[in-house]
Symmetry: C2
Subunit: 138 residues, 2 copies
């Protein structure tokens, strides 16, 4: 919790009851929750919180790297027709996903425990980033 206060001060985020409740709910969450799932949890502590506030809070936390995004902001699912071995940069602000090529990453071995249990269709390294353009903006 001290960590929360430190982070908020660092990024000039006001310490509101809503933000605190969202942070707490996240710290207890071992899943990969959707905004709505977080909303449902937070409501226990903070019954009047709005879904919009939860969404805004999650977005700002992710933009500062306090939490990671699994699927990023933006409109619609995205598909990847590029079948060459490659890796991804995913901008947490604008949602853009760019390819990069890096041989050292191509040769990663899938752990055998995983291969025994799952059919692996694709593997890549995904870096969550803030891109140059978005860095300039704010």
């Amino acid at each position: 919790m001290e960590n929360f206060i430190t982070q908020c001060k660092k990024y000039n985020l006001r310490i509101t009851p809503q933000r605190t409740a969202v942070y707490k709910a996240l710290m207890e969450d071992k899943t990969h929750p959707t905004a709505d799932a977080v909303y449902q949890n937070v409501k226990k502590d903070c019954p009047n919180i709005s879904l919009d506030t939860v969404n805004r809070t999650l977005i700002s936390f992710s933009e500062f790297g306090i939490i990671d995004t699994v699927m990023c902001s933006g409109q619609g699912k995205k598909y990847d027709p590029n079948s060459k071995p490659h890796h991804h940069l995913k901008c947490v602000k604008c949602g853009k996903i760019s390819d990069f090529y890096h041989q050292k990453y191509d040769s990663l071995k899938v752990p055998s425990e995983v291969e025994e249990e799952f059919t692996v269709l694709n593997k890549k390294v995904v870096l969550t980033v803030v891109c140059k353009k978005c860095n300039k903006k704010g």
Copy 2:
């Protein structure tokens, strides 16, 4: 294109003009398109195709590993409050994302070209898979 026919036969997908057109459009696409973007491209060849068909086709292609998904099926963006170094298994059928821990992956170095241009908030290896449950179903 022979590849397309091979894949379709392998998975018992009928070779329809719509499916062919979607495949062609994907092979020419160097971006990470949304279903709607694919739809707009395919319409040039195939003006009467419906968005629903494009969506279904993309989902089936991704389920067979013909293309990869960047953001997966399912409802809503997902956030990740787990701040320990870990990696992801993303089931392309049910959309579930599970954590796995694998030390060899934790120590990946970010290429310096990337670090110079981007602020890196997080890095992980993401494996697109079909999970055990979904494998059984079909």
